[in-house]
Point group: C2
Chain length 261, copies 2
C-alpha cells in the first residue's frame, strides 16, 4: 500500500458481493439463483448479491444479502470467502469488482422471497451450468462448485448441509450429490465414524419405511479431516448397478495452482 503522491486520485471502483448458495435437495446439488429484473442481462438467471454498504465488511454484506434472499443467518450455515473477480469488462455499466462468497446450508423452507429477492429459486447446479448466467457468474459458480467439492475432502462442512439430527446415509448423500458419484456405504461409514469429532451420536434412531433403522447423529466439533477423504477414483456403484452412477456435474476440473482472475 504505497501512496506516493497525495494528489493522485485512485480510479473509481464499485464493489459488490455475490453469493454461491448451495444446498442439497431431492438428491442433487442445487444453487440459489435470481432472475434479473433489470438491464443488463435482463431476464437472465444470476447469483444473488449486492453492493456493500458504507461501514460494513464484505462478510457482513454477504450475510446481509444472504438474510435478505433466504432469511438465513450464519448460525444455520457455513459462509466463506471464495474469490474476487475483477475483469474490467465483467459489467458493461462500469468498473465493478465483486467478491464472491460460498454459502453451504441444509435444505430449508425454500427461499423466503425477501425484500428485493425478485424471483429467487433453487436450480440444480448441472442445469445452471448448462444454461447461460448473467455476467461472469457461470465462472463464479464453477469456482464455487470446485471449492465446495474440495472442502468436503478436507473438512467436516458436509454436515452443514444436513438438518440435525441426521443419519450417516444422509451425510453420504451430501457427498454423493456434491461430488457427483456414489460412495461405498461401508467404507464411508468407517471413515466418518472413526474421525474424532465429526459425528456426535444422539442415541436416537430413525426408523425408515423400508430397511434397517439408522442411528442419528449431530455435528461434532471437529473442523478438519485428517487424513482427508479424497475423491480420487471413487467409482464404486454401491449397488452393483452401473446405471445409477451419477455423472460428474462438470466435465473438466480446474486443478491448477494459480488463482485465476
Amino acid at each position: 500500500m504505497t501512496i506516493e503522491d497525495a494528489e493522485w486520485k485512485p480510479p473509481i471502483v464499485t464493489v459488490t458481493v455475490d453469493l454461491v448458495i448451495f444446498t442439497v435437495r431431492d438428491g442433487d446439488l442445487q444453487v440459489l439463483l435470481i432472475d434479473r429484473g433489470i438491464e443488463p442481462y435482463l431476464g437472465y438467471p444470476a447469483l444473488p448479491g449486492g453492493y456493500i454498504d458504507k461501514g460494513e465488511t464484505l462478510e457482513e454484506a454477504a450475510l446481509r444479502e444472504l438474510h435478505e434472499e433466504t432469511g438465513l443467518d450464519a448460525r444455520t450455515l457455513h459462509l466463506e470467502q471464495l474469490h474476487a473477480y475483477s475483469d474490467p469488462r465483467r459489467d458493461p455499466r462500469g468498473r465493478v469488482i465483486t467478491v464472491a462468497y460460498l454459502a453451504l446450508g441444509p435444505d430449508l423452507p425454500v427461499p423466503v422471497s425477501g425484500t428485493d429477492a425478485a424471483a429467487a429459486s433453487w436450480a440444480p447446479v448441472s442445469d445452471a451450468l448448462a444454461g447461460r448466467l448473467a455476467f461472469d457468474h457461470a465462472g463464479i459458480l464453477r469456482d464455487g462448485l470446485e471449492r465446495a467439492r474440495s472442502q468436503l475432502e478436507h473438512t467436516t462442512v458436509a454436515a452443514a448441509f444436513c438438518v440435525e439430527p441426521f443419519t450417516i446415509s444422509d451425510l453420504r448423500h451430501i457427498y454423493e450429490a456434491v461430488w457427483g458419484f456414489k460412495l461405498d456405504p461401508s467404507n464411508f461409514r468407517r471413515k466418518v465414524t472413526r474421525t474424532e469429532g465429526f459425528l456426535e451420536p444422539t442415541g436416537e434412531r430413525y426408523v425408515p419405511q423400508i430397511g434397517r433403522p439408522a442411528l442419528l447423529y449431530r455435528r461434532g466439533n471437529a473442523a478438519a479431516l485428517s487424513p482427508p477423504l479424497l475423491r480420487t477414483s471413487q467409482l464404486s456403484s454401491a449397488g452393483g448397478n452401473a446405471a445409477d452412477r451419477t455423472m460428474p456435474l462438470v466435465p473438466q476440473e480446474n486443478a491448477g495452482l494459480a488463482g485465476s482472475d
Copy 2:
C-alpha cells in the same frame, strides 16, 4: 448483483492490492517488506502494494506491483489470490478494501529498488511477525504464511522457490523453512521422487564440498500432490540432534473453516 434502484449511489470504495512475497534465503522463510514513507503508519514496515489502475484486473495490478518492487514477472514465480480484507477501519484515511496476493519465488538478485520501492527489503517472517506492521498487514502475512504452508502439502509449488536445476535437498530445505521443522531426508526423497511429474531428472549432478554428489532436477509438469504430503506430527530431527530442530514460526495456526474478514 441486484440493482433495484437506478438512482441509488453505491458507496465510494478504494481498492488496492497487497503482496505477500515469500522467498527462502539463508535457510529461512523471508518476506518482502517496504518502509512506509508517508502517513499513516509512517516508518512502519508494510507489505508492498498499490492501487489498481483503470482497466486492469486485480491480478494484473498484482503483477505490475510485483514487477515494480522486485523486477520479477509471472514466468519466474507463482502468484495466487489470497483474500480480500475489508474492515471499514483498516485504513484511517477511508474506505479501502485490499485484495492480497501470495507470491512465491526463488531467492533472486535481491529486491531491485524499482520506481516507488522506497526501501524494500527481505525480512525473516518470524521477525516480521514479532514486530509491528502497518495496517492489518500482520494478519495478512499470517494468512499468507498459512496458505503457503498448506500449498506445500497439496501442490508442487515448493519447486517455485528453487532455482533450476536443484537437488532434492534444496527442495527439502524449502519445506523445512516454510513449515519450520526438519523432515526425514530419506522419506522425503521417496515421496517426491515417486510423485509422477514433480521432479524431472536432468542427468547432471551437483558435487558439493563435502558429501556424496546429488542428482539435479528440474520442475516437472504436475501441479497437484496426491496423496498430499501432510505436515502432521513431522517431528523428526533428521540427525539425532534435537537442538537443530527449528521451532514453528507462528505458535497458533488458524485451522478454521470459515473465511475471516
